[in-house]
Amino acid sequence: MMGLHKKDLNLLLIVMVLALFAPFILNPFPTDSALAQFNAGYPDLMQRFVIFGIFAVGFNILFGLTGYLSFGHAAFLGIGSYSCVWMFKLLSYNVVPGILLSVVMAGIFSVAIGFISLRRSGIYFSILTLAFAQMSFAIAYSVLSNPAFNLTNGETGLQVYASDPQWLQSASAPNAPHLFGLPMRATETLTVGGWDFQFNVGYYMCAIIMILAFYLSIRIFRSPFGLMLRAVKSNQQRMIYTGLNTKPYTLAAFIISGMYAGLAGGLLSAMDPLAGAERMQWTASGEVVLMTILGGAGTLIGPVLGAGFIKYFENIFSKINDNILHQWFSALPDGLEDFLITIVHPFIGKGWHLTLGLMFMMVVIFLPGGLVEGGQRIGAMFKRKPKDTNGGLSAPATPAE
C-alpha cells in the first residue's frame, strides 16, 4: 500500500497514531495531580515535537544516509522562519504562502551552501557548514538589520507590525496566523474526568505535515536514490569507479535536508509569528545533530524519537525549580533535603543542558545505535529468539526502523 512494504507501512502507521493521538498519549496524568507537570499534551510543546521531528527527519536524509555531518542546518531553519514572517508582513496571516516560501528559500540557500561545503568531506565539510551558519547568524543579527535596510529586525526579532502592508489580509480574517480562516492558536479542550485534553489547530496542521514529511523520507530511503546515498556513506571510491558521480547525489541530499529544515522553520513562525536570529545559532545546529544521533542516525524513526525525547526533557527539566524540588523532597529530614537539592540543582532549570549532555553521553556509550537500538534490544529480550544460526553472518543490511 502507498508503495510501501509491510514493515515500513507499520512504521508509518505507528507515527500516524502517535501524532494524531498525541493530545491523549502525552497527557496521562489528571490535571490536578502532582504528576501533571510530567504531562506534555500542551499545544506549544506538541507543536515543537512535530516541528523538530520534521527538522530531524530531514537532517537524517543527509547525515544518516550519506554520513555528511552538517553543523549548520540551523541556518536553513532560520531562513525558513524569516521567510514565513515576511509573507505575513507583506501578504496576510494565511500560513500557506509563508510555509511555501520558507521551503523555497531554504532550498535556494542550501544549493549555494551545499555546493561550496561539499567540495570537502569529513571534518572539513562540518567546519564549512558551521562557518556558513555562523555567518548567516551574524548577518541576520546585525548586518541585515539597519534603518536603511531592515530584513531581520536584529535582536528584537522579525515580527508583524500594524504598519505592515499585508496586502491580502482581509478584515474578516483572524489577526494572527491562520489556515484559510482557521486560527493556528484555536484550541478545543475536552474534559474527561480529571483530564483536560487539548486539540489545537496549529498542532494538527504541523502533525499532518510531519506525517507527510516522514512518508516522503521512507520513500527516499527505499528508492534507488536512497541506495546511492547509502553507497556514498559506505565507499565513495567504489562509487566513482563504478561510474557514479557522487557530487550531485550528495548535493541533492543536502538540498532536500535543507528544505526540510526550512519547512520546520516556516512552521515555527506559523505557530508563533516571531523569527529571531538565535534560531540560526550553532547551538540550534548542534541540537538537531543530537536529536538524530540520540534517536538513531540512519534509521527511519530514530530522528522522530530523538526530537521528541530532547524536546520533552528540555521542557520538563527546565520547568523544575528549587520550589518544586522542595515539594518532592519535603518528606525527608531537612539536612538530607538540602543536600539532595544542592546536588540536583545544577541539572534543572537553566542547567538542563548539563542533563542533556549526560544523557547524550550515556546513549552514545551504551547504545551507539540510539534509542532505536535500545528499542530493538528490549524487543529482542521479549522475543527470546533462538541463537543466531548463521554465526553472526546475517547482520541486517537494510536500515532498521
Binding site: P224, F225, Y241, T242, G243, N245, S394, A397
Partner: protein
C-alpha cells in the same frame, strides 16, 4: 590498433620512477596478463588507466578516445571496470545491494534523481543482479552484509559488481589473491565463460602463474616500471630475461 593504447606513460613518486616509458597495445577481445615482481608498477599502471592517478607524461586511448583528463566515473561509463587488489566493496550494504548499484549505474548513467521509485520494484535491475549473483554462486548470500564476507567472497562479489556492468574492458588486479584453490579454479572458469559468452577484453594482473597461463593470450612482463617483454604465454615461459627478472624468483 588495439582497444587500449598506452603510449610513453611515465609516473614518478618523488625519486621513484614507478612507471618508465610504458607502451602497451591491447587487442580487442583478448586476455592480456601483466606480470612482474612486487613493486614493479602494475597497480600504478592500472591507476593511470582509470583516472585514479594522472601520469606525468604519455597518453592513454580507449576505443579511439583519449582517457587522460576524464573523471573516474566518466572513464567507467566508457566501459572500463576494475577489480582492485584490496577489495573495494560497499561493506555496509548487503551483497545484493552491492550488485544493484553497478546495475543502476549502467542503466541510469552517472546520476539520476530517482527518489520516489522503490529499489525492490525495479524488476529488471533486480533480476539482472540476482542472475549475476547466481553466476558467481553467491545468490544464497544475497542478504548478508557484505563487510562480513570472507576475503575470497569479497573478491568474488567485487568481480560480480564489475561483470554485471558488462564492461568492454575489465581490469583485474590480482583477482584470486587470498582465495582457496577451489575458488581460484571457479574464478578461472567464470572468467573463461564470460570471455566465451560476450565481447570483452581483459587485463589481468596476477602472481599465480596457473591463473595467468590458463587465461592469457598475451603476457607483458613489467619490472621496475618498465615493460621487459611482451609475447605469447609459450614464449614467455622460456624467455631467459623473464626467468631472470621474475619467474626465476618464484621457481627458486
Amino acid at each position: 590498433m588495439g582497444i587500449l593504447e598506452v603510449k610513453n606513460v611515465n609516473k614518478r613518486f618523488g625519486g621513484l620512477q614507478a612507471l618508465g616509458d610504458v607502451n602497451l597495445d591491447i587487442q580487442e577481445n583478448t586476455v592480456h596478463a601483466i606480470i612482474g615482481p612486487n613493486g614493479a608498477g602494475k597497480s600504478t599502471l592500472l591507476n593511470c588507466l582509470i583516472g585514479k592517478l594522472e601520469p606525468d607524461t604519455g597518453s592513454v586511448t580507449f576505443d579511439g578516445q583519449p582517457v587522460l583528463g576524464l573523471k573516474p566515473h566518466q572513464i567507467n561509463q566508457l566501459g572500463i571496470s576494475r577489480v582492485f587488489q584490496t577489495p573495494e566493496i560497499f561493506s555496509d550494504l548487503s551483497v545484493l545491494e552491492n550488485v544493484l548499484i553497478p546495475c543502476f549505474a549502467k542503466r541510469d548513467g552517472s546520476f539520476r534523481m530517482n527518489a520516489i521509485g522503490t529499489v525492490g520494484n525495479e524488476t529488471d535491475v533486480m533480476s539482472t543482479a540476482e542472475k549475476m549473483l547466481d553466476d558467481v554462486n553467491m545468490l544464497d548470500k544475497k542478504d548478508v552484509l557484505s563487510g562480513a564476507l570472507s576475503r575470497g567472497d569479497k573478491r568474488r562479489l567485487e568481480m560480480a559488481m564489475c561483470l554485471v556492468q558488462e564492461p568492454k574492458l575489465l581490469l583485474l588486479d590480482e583477482p584470486t589473491a587470498g582465495m582457496a584453490r577451489a575458488d581460484t579454479n571457479n574464478t578461472i572458469e567464470l572468467l573463461k565463460e564470460i570471455k566465451a559468452s560476450r565481447d570483452i577484453t581483459m587485463v589481468i594482473i596476477e602472481h599465480d602463474m596457473h591463473v595467468v597461463f590458463s587465461l592469457a593470450q598475451r603476457i607483458t612482463v613489467l619490472a621496475q616500471g618498465r615493460p621487459l617483454v611482451e609475447d605469447t604465454p609459450e614464449k614467455i615461459k622460456g624467455h631467459p630475461k623473464v626467468k631472470e627478472a621474475y619467474l626465476g624468483e618464484t621457481a627458486a
